[in-house]
């Protein structure tokens, strides 16, 4: 009697395993076809399957309603990026990001000249040049981990970090985005003017719509520039705020 109950339980478990594997896409085509035949001829089995599937749907609803992330967790992650940035792994982090991003470094030494270039000068599909509005943003906007500051009808920018260079100038890493492309660059402040030192295509941020293969030779140029130019760690939020407030003095 006990053996019979045990056998029944084992049989039931095996059947449930089979149904589960079917739901989870773990059966071979032949096994699927076989089970589908059984389902067609055994209403009880089909009901059991439907029951499993409905419970799965409920479970998803339940857990997705509980997926909110505590602010402390996102803050920890965000701060880690900032902290990492302050202790030079930010350079490694940049390299890692660029490994995916496949930065194509293009232009060096583009100086903003408002009379010549006017506002928001951008060559089609080319890197953004140092426009008046980008220079103003670099001059006044604090670094941020996310979000954008609009610099024209078609462009937005994000300052990423600020660091001192060996020649005594201040430099800022930044992103510029338009509908068509994203760029990552570094500009340094020479004689009250912002000069683009290096800039490259930031493909990582474009990946949702486009995949671009990485170029090992190009992708580290921005990171390498920062590593060579920086004489100290990136500024913290308070230090940067003080610098912006005092007009970079």
């Amino acid at each position: 009697m006990v053996d019979n109950i045990h056998d029944l339980n084992m049989q039931q478990l095996k059947q449930d395993q089979n149904l589960s594997a079917y739901i989870d896409g773990e059966l071979s085509e032949r096994e699927q076809a076989q089970l589908q035949q059984e389902l067609a001829s055994h209403p009880g089995l089909a009901m059991r399957l439907a029951e499993f599937q409905r419970n799965d749907a409920l479970l998803k609803t339940l857990l997705h309603s509980k997926s909110d992330i505590p602010t402390s967790v996102t803050t920890t992650l965000t701060n880690s990026r900032n902290a990492a940035n302050k202790s030079r792994p930010w350079f490694k982090g940049l390299q890692g990001g660029l490994a995916i991003a496949a930065t194509l470094t293009l232009a060096i030494g583009l100086t903003w000249n408002s009379d010549k270039l006017g506002f928001n000068s951008v060559k089609k599909n080319g890197p953004p040049v140092m426009s008046h509005s980008l220079a103003q943003a670099l001059e006044h906007n604090p670094s941020r981990a996310e979000g954008w500051d609009s610099i024209s009808n078609t462009q937005k920018m994000r300052a990423l970090l600020t660091f001192p260079a060996a020649d005594g100038t201040w430099c800022r890493e930044f992103l510029v985005a338009s509908d068509a492309s994203h760029w990552r660059g570094v500009a340094c402040r020479h004689d009250n003017s912002w000069v683009t030192e290096v800039i490259g295509r930031e493909v990582f941020l474009e990946q949702e719509t486009n995949y671009r293969p990485a170029s090992a030779q190009d992708m580290n140029k921005v990171a390498r520039f920062i590593d060579q130019a920086a004489t100290d760690v990136a500024l913290g939020r308070d230090e940067e705020t003080a610098l912006l407030t005092k007009g970079w003095q």
Binding site: G25, V73, K92
Partner: protein, 168 residues
Amino acid sequence: MTALNYSQRQGLMTELAALKRFCLSLTNEPADADDLLQLTVERILARGMPEDAHVAKWAYRVCRNLWIDELRSREVRYRFSQTESASNDLTASHQSAGEDEVRLSQVASAMGKLPHDQRAALVLVAVEGRSYAEAADILDVPVGTIMSRIARARRSLAETVEWTPGDE
């Protein structure tokens, strides 16, 4: 082992919601899940991960190991199966009168009664869409064990949640 690079941090950020659900599957209590998530992120940041590591799998494993450590330290390996009436917060917000709410409450209650290893397997596969092989890898058990745990978990849910013929 190195500090997280940019893409790993981004990957971890993207994975947080799924990781939170996994935490919940282990702890069965939102407050504990939040704590476990925080610990997991801190541990990963502190110890880093190999450059070629799969971010999600790595994070799940760290999370699971931390939870096992926690259980060991408390010497109460299955405390949640014994305290569901006192601490089952999954149920708390689903007490309105509608049929769906009742069933959600029943699912929450049934989940609370499952051993955490069955809950974790079920959530990884049925909610997160992981394959049996991936779940086995994350939970460090054979694929056959995953198959068995999921079937038992679904069976337990089916015994608790009341469906009648014709229900959609």
